[in-house]
Amino acid sequence: MGKKVAIVGFGQTYQRSSRKDVNGVELINEAVRAALEDAELTINDIDAIVIGNMDHFEGVNYVDCWSAEGSGAVMKPIFKVTTGGTTGTTVAMCGYYHVASGMFDRVLAIGWEKNSESDTTGAIVTAFHPVWERTRFGGAIAGLAVEASKYMHNYGVTERDGARVAVRERLHALNNPYSQLHQDWMKGMEPEQIVDLLVTSEQNQMLAYPLRMSDMCPRTDGAAAVVFASEGVAEKIAPTPAWVISTHNRHNYVFLGDINWDRNDTLEAAAKKVFEDAGIKEPLKEIDVCELYLPYSYAGLKWMESIGFCGPGEGPKLVWDGVTDMDGELPVNPSGGVMSSNPIGATAILRVGEGALQVMGKAGDRQVPKDVNYSLCTGFGGCNWADVMLLGKKKPS
C-alpha cells in the first residue's frame, strides 16, 4: 500500500537579487541540470516532472507548458502545482506522491521564481480577496507585523529577540555559497554585538512596526530541483538517500481576518500529524536539524513553539541559549533560510533540498557537526498555511 520514497538528488542555482543573464526557462534548466548531476542521472532516467511557481511574479500562464524545453518535459509527463508561498513544499509533496503512488520511479520536482521581473508586493496583494480584502491589504510585511506585535504583547518578547533570529540566519548564510545574502560585515562578530547594532541603527529602516529591513526576507531569482525515487531504486542512485518519513499540510484559512493571531495553529496541526506518523514524542531531542520556512525573524521564535520544540513564550530563550545555532542541540536553517534567500516558488523546496543534504551528508560548509537522523522541513504562505515534511536517514518500515 504505497511505496517508500527518498530524495536522491538536489540542485539549485546561485540565488541573486536578479539574474539578468538568463530568462526563466533557462534558469529552470540550470537547476534541473544541477539536480541531475547531483543524482548522477540523465533526463532520460526521469519518469515524470512537476513544477511550481507563483504565476503573477513572472506573468506567464501555464508555466508547465512554457518551460517544457528547459525543464526536460518535452515528450514527458508534467503538470504544475501552485499554492502561493507554500508552492515549493507543495511541489516537493507532489513529487513524493508521484512516487509513493507506485506509478513513477524517478520524479523531478522543480520550484522557481524570477522575482526581479515584477513588483513582488503588487503581485502578492492580488492573493487577497478582490472585494473584501485587497483594497486594504498592506502586503506580506503588514500581515507578519501584526502577528509579531501580538506575540510581543502576549509574551513580552522584544525587538532584540527578533533580531537574534535574523542574526542567526544571516550568519548561517555565510556558509552557503548559493544563498543571495552574504552579509560579510557580520563575520567574526558576536551575535549580541550584531543584535545591538541592528536594533539601534538608523539605516535599518522600520518598515511596519516591529519589522525592520533586517527582520525581513529578500526577494530573489532562483530555481531548485529535487529528485525523488522509489524504494528499490533510490538505494541504487544515492549512497545515503533522504527518506520521506512523513508529510502533511494544513491550509485552513482563506481570509486574513480569520487567522488565529495568537497561535500558528495550522503549523501546530501539521507538525503534530507528522510527528504522530513518525512516532516522534520529543521533537527537540529527536529532530537533529531543521530547515524552517521563516519569512521573517519573529517566526523563528513563535513558530518554534508551534512546532513543539518548546512551550508558549519560550522561543526567545531557546534561541538566546544557542540551541538553534550550528553547534547547538537543534540547528535551525544551516542554509541561512528564507531570510537570506527567497525565490518564492523555490523557497520551500530549498528547505526540502537543504534538509535532504543534511541527511545525505552533502551540505559542505553548512553541514551540521552532528549525526543527522531526522531533518524537519517546512513551508509557509498565504493565510498561515503550513506544510511539514520530515526526512530521515533510516528507511521507514
Binding site: 508547465d64 507543495t90 506509478m103 485552513n252
Partner: protein, 378 residues
Amino acid sequence: MEKVAIVGVGQTTYERRKEDTFDELVFEAATKALADAGGGIGDIDNIVTVSNDFWDGRTISSMGIQDAAGSWDKDISTVEGDGTFGVLYGMMRALSGSFETTLVVSHMKGSEAVMNLITNAIFDPIFQRSLGIDATSSAALQARLYMEKIKASQEDFALASVKNHKNAMNNPNAQLPMDISVDDVMKSKMLADPLKMLDCSPISDGAAAVVIATEKGAKRFKKSPVWIKGVGHVSDAYTLGYRDLASTRALDAAASKAYKMAGIKDPMKDLDVVELYDAYSYMEPLWYEGLGLAKEKKGVELLKSGATAMDGDLPVNPSGGVISAHPVLVAGMTRVVEGVLQLRGEAEKRQVKGAKTALAHGINGACGQSHCVFVMGV
C-alpha cells in the same frame, strides 16, 4: 497498479454567465459529488483543487475557494492545469498509502475574465506575446496545418461541431445544445480563418468534482465504484513553430500508456464511449488520430463515416463535448464525470447503451500541447 475508483461525481450546469461566486460553484460541485457518492466531507481524507491564477484574477487562486472545498484540517494541494491532471493527482494521493479517499474539485468563470488576454499570456513574453497571438488564432494556425496535411475542407471540420451541438441537446448541463447544419457552421462569423464562430467552443462558467477512493476507501460510500484502469499524461514541446502542430505524438504517447495499463489493444473495438477535449471542431478528428481511433491522416474519414455518432460503433462526446460547454480547467474533469455517468448507466438521454469501458481526455496549453488520457471501466 492497485485498484482505484471514482465513487462520486458532481457538476454544475455550464452557462455563459453564472451569478454564483467561485466558492459557491466549488461548494455546489463538491457537495453534489459527495451526495452522489453517498457520503460526506468526513469521509474525505485529502483534497485537490484545480484553478488558475490568471483566469481567477487572483494570485494563489486556490485560496479563494479552499474552504468551500472542505480544506479545514485536511491535507490539500492545488493543480494549475486541466481538470484531468487534477483527477490524476488525486488518484496518486489515494494510491500513496497516506490517504484512502481524495476529493478533487475544479471551477471556472470565463465570464469574469477576458479570454483573449488570458490565453495571450500563455505565449512567450519575449518573442510571441506582443504579436497578440491567443488561443483562437493559434488554433487557427494548427487547423490550417492539419487541413493541408490531410487535404480536408472546412466543411469536414464542421461535421464535428454539428454532431456535438446536436448531442448536447440530450445534456441538461450543456451550455449550447443546438440543432445546426454544416451550412450554419459555414455561415457563422469568421473569427480567425479557417475557424468560424461555430467551430469554436464558447466562454463558460461552471464547476465539477469527483470523489476518488481506493478499494478500501470505496467502502465508506454507497455508490458502485467506477475503476480507473489506465492513465497517461505527456507534454509536447512548447515553442509554437518547433513542434508539428498537425501531429499528435504527445497524445499518442499518453493514450498508449493508458491503453497498456488498461489492457486496451484495439481502441475502436475495446472502448464503448469516448469523451475528448474538442475546444475547436478540427480538434476532434485530430485527437481521433492521437487516440488511435483512426490512423494518421484518417481522422476526418472516421468522422465522416458516422462511426463516432450516437448511433455509431463508438460514440464520441455524447455530452456535447467541449464545443458545447467550455469552462476551462473544468472541461477535462467534466469529460471524466461524463465517462463515469456513462459507465454507471446514469447518462439518461445521452446514454450509450451497455457502456462498460470509457475514455476521458483533457488538454492543457496552446493547441493541445499537453494531454491526459483516462480509461475507466466497470
